[in-house]
């Protein structure tokens, strides 16, 4: 079982008061937790990757807890999420796909009513590569007020033999949301979509 070799953790929180319109009564919050780890499969083709998903689980849980703490609100108020990965140049896109299960379930375990699939994105790239992590409502993917994306990246990561894994959580709708569509108050079917 490859150990998780963690080089760096970056946690960020953004409070958005307005975007040129009325100042929000409650600032919208967006947070991210990024971990830079060694890619145990860098530089060679390995057929069986799946055991590494289990190895990533504790890291996912630690990142989810850090992110909830950094947002500084009760976990119930966190209502949007997303995840992503950037694989360094000596790795494969498929290595980034290993983050889907441990990253997603780590957040869903800690957020009530998280019925919706965790939206995700991934790419291969060098240090400083930016990743737009998609965000949707945790209970119903079609809630229009919560569609968003959070750009993340780290100047010195990922190096060629590393991968950067990301979790994103948000609190509240886009600050001046007025594009209509399914509202949070209209969530009824509870199938993760509507």
């Amino acid at each position: 079982m490859p150990e998780i070799r963690l080089r760096k953790l970056v946690t960020g929180v953004e409070d958005i008061y307005h975007e040129g319109g009325p100042v929000a009564a409650i600032p919208r919050k967006r947070g991210w937790c990024l971990a830079v780890i060694t890619n145990p499969f860098a530089g060679r083709y390995v057929a069986d990757l799946q055991p590494f998903m289990d190895d990533l689980k504790p890291l996912g849980v630690d990142m989810a807890k850090r992110l909830i703490a950094a947002l500084g609100v009760p976990a119930d108020e966190i209502d949007g999420y997303g995840k992503g990965a950037i694989v360094g140049g000596a790795g494969e896109l498929e290595h980034g796909a290993l983050w889907h299960a441990p990253g997603g379930y780590a957040m869903r375990e800690h957020l009530a009513s998280s019925l919706a699939i965790v939206p995700s994105t991934k790419k291969v790239g060098g240090p400083g590569t930016r990743l737009d992590v998609p965000v949707t409502h945790k209970t119903a993917s079609y809630v229009r007020s919560h569609f968003d994306a959070v750009e993340v990246g780290i100047d010195d990561s990922p190096r060629a033999d590393e991968m950067l894994v990301a979790l994103v959580m948000t609190v509240g709708p886009r600050v001046h949301n007025r594009a209509g569509g399914l509202a949070v108050t209209d969530i009824k079917i509870r199938d993760g979509q509507k």
């Binding site: 960020g12 409070d15 307005h18 975007e19 950094a70 750009e151 780290i154």
Partner: protein
């Protein structure tokens, strides 16, 4: 009433656990607090910049406190600090200077309990997503070589043309694995801000 029209505040913490394969224990930690504010003088030449100095005074305290809180340590445990501003395209470099230099330092030093050393600074003009490298130096003695560093911050949607991004960085540690010699932190006298 806030002096600054703040659109958003971002707080980021990074922790380095390993460098070039070597464990870093305890991890070195840096925090940055960033405010995106309206530039009251965008698009015009205004001679007197006192309003920006007052905004700087407010932000020095606010951002200093937010960055220290993000590290979760006592103010006295902060070891290094720095400040920077990035002016959107309709502003002047001098606007960054007015925010950072006249009144910013005093409340920032209060937020880290005290600091005898010059607060290192950087400024530039640029568009949304421009990276800003906040210089870092030891708060008691500018010559401490292990604490010279910089923390890059970047906000994809800021500064807009009429905005200014203002940032503070603090650490509770120096660089990971420092080994270029010079004045060591246990040798600090802390009287003149230099050694």
């Amino acid at each position: 009433m806030s002096k600054a029209n703040i659109r958003k505040i971002i707080v980021v913490v990074d922790e380095i656990h390993r460098e070039q394969g070597q464990p870093v224990s305890p991890p070195t930690r840096r925090a940055a607090a960033i405010a995106v504010i309206a530039n009251p003088f965008a698009g015009q030449f205004v001679k007197n910049l006192d309003q920006l100095a007052d905004i700087g005074e407010e932000l020095g305290g606010l951002l200093g406190a937010r960055a220290v809180a993000a590290l979760g340590v006592a103010a006295s445990q902060i070891e290094s600090y720095g400040k920077a501003a990035l002016v959107g395209e309709n502003g002047e470099l001098e606007h960054a200077a007015a925010i950072l230099h006249p009144k910013f330092g005093k409340p920032l030093r209060a937020a880290v309990e005290k600091g005898a050393a010059l607060v290192s600074s950087a400024k530039k003009r640029g568009g949304m997503g421009t990276p800003l490298d906040i210089p870092l130096g030891h708060k008691h003695a500018a010559f401490v070589r292990s604490h010279f560093d910089a923390m890059e911050v970047r906000v994809n949607d800021a500064p807009r043309a009429d905005e200014i991004l203002v940032a503070v960085a603090v650490t509770d540690s120096g660089r990971p694995l420092p080994r270029v010699g010079g004045l060591q932190k246990h040798e600090i006298k802390g009287e003149d801000g230099l050694r």
